[in-house]
Symmetry: C2
């Protein structure tokens, strides 16, 4: 095999905050869920944990609180969050350039997939929002044992589209994406559209940081994507 055959760049995209503008709806939905069981947690602390696995989220939450949470209360939270998020879903929009970035990659023969810590039923709604077909390569929380920042989602995504994860670029808005990228041996690229600061993403291993998918599309050359001859 020649060197080229090993170096087909592929893209593995996070979903919330990376392709769709849904982070703040998730934040407010978690806040409502927590209030619903009598927990008052500052909103910025919720924001910084969006995108990590639900189990880790609940562990992190328990650390912040003075009181111990009983199992029954904890087990109610994911459902309360899901209900609150669905009520807000009509206000979720694609991020600027998201659809065009994905169609451009497809046109140029660059393989890509979506890998999200979220549940499949939300992710399928997001495909509609982005104008993507339901057969789009999509790995969700339901398909792996551990969500981000474990590498499983990105490893499974690379395997599904038959690319080497080590030749793949993970694009995400959160430090959990970038940690999962590193653990999967992929390159990480950050986008600011989830509301993290640039340096938080750089310090978590992002090799480049763009504003949003449209900004990445305008700079694909910087990450080594060549137009086909």
């Amino acid at each position: 095999m020649d060197a080229e055959a090993h170096r087909q760049t592929a893209f593995l995209f996070d979903l919330d905050g990376t392709l769709i503008d849904s982070v703040y709806q998730h934040v407010v939905a978690w806040r409502e869920a927590l209030e619903g069981v009598g927990i008052n947690l500052a909103v910025w602390k919720i924001h910084r944990r969006i995108g990590m696995s639900g189990g880790l989220f609940v562990n992190a939450l328990a650390r912040e609180l003075d009181t111990r949470l009983d199992q029954e209360t904890l087990s109610m939270l994911p459902g309360l969050h899901a209900d609150a998020y669905m009520r807000k879903f009509e206000s979720v929009r694609p991020l600027p350039g998201a659809s065009l970035l994905l169609t451009t990659l497809s046109e140029q023969g660059v393989p890509w997939a979506i890998a999200t810590s979220g549940a499949e039923r939300y992710a399928r709604l997001a495909l509609d929002l982005l104008g993507l077909p339901q057969e789009t390569p999509l790995i969700t929380r339901d398909q792996v044992r551990y969500a981000k920042p474990d590498p499983d989602l990105f490893l499974t995504a690379a395997s599904t589209i038959e690319v080497d994860v080590r030749d793949s670029i993970v694009v995400g808005d959160s430090v959990w994406d970038l940690l999962a990228a590193r653990r999967a041996r992929a390159l990480g690229i950050g986008v600011l559209s989830g509301g993290y600061g640039r340096e938080e993403l750089l310090y978590s291993g992002a090799f480049r940081v763009y504003e949003d998918p449209g900004d990445l599309l305008g700079h694909l050359d910087e990450v080594g994507v060549r137009r086909p001859l």
Copy 2:
């Protein structure tokens, strides 16, 4: 006069995101106001402009959009935002440690005031939320020509409580607070409770960054506040 007389440290506090947990409610309220006039702006870009003057916010907004905004549309935005924010106000809580920090400073004889780019009627609701008397030194957008990042709010606040702004410490959650602090010749301290990243605040001139008012209270010695003898 001896050196001590010149060096009475005073604190000038921002309000939203610094003493009360209201930034995300403001973000969502602005998003609803913008949608109300047919403008779709990514939510993170709204978040990063909370705390700046309304006039500058609208200028910044115009730069992000492809289309020109007519004056009539622009003039509707503040009212739409105010209405949307008031609907969400019941979910606003004091930030951890805010009330205790302020009463501790008062007990130790350290002068302080609140200076906010927001309107007086919201700020007065926030005083109630914090359990503060209505005669608390409070400078609002209504009392100065230019809000943050101009220095006017902090200059007026220092003058109101009869302290030298150059001996004052501004505490804020946003880069606009820290820029206004620098322009007012005050020292700036950042808090993460408005959702900015630590480095964003440091690069904007924060000398120290704490999580929230409670974290600052636990480290008052680091900013030179001595217990009275």
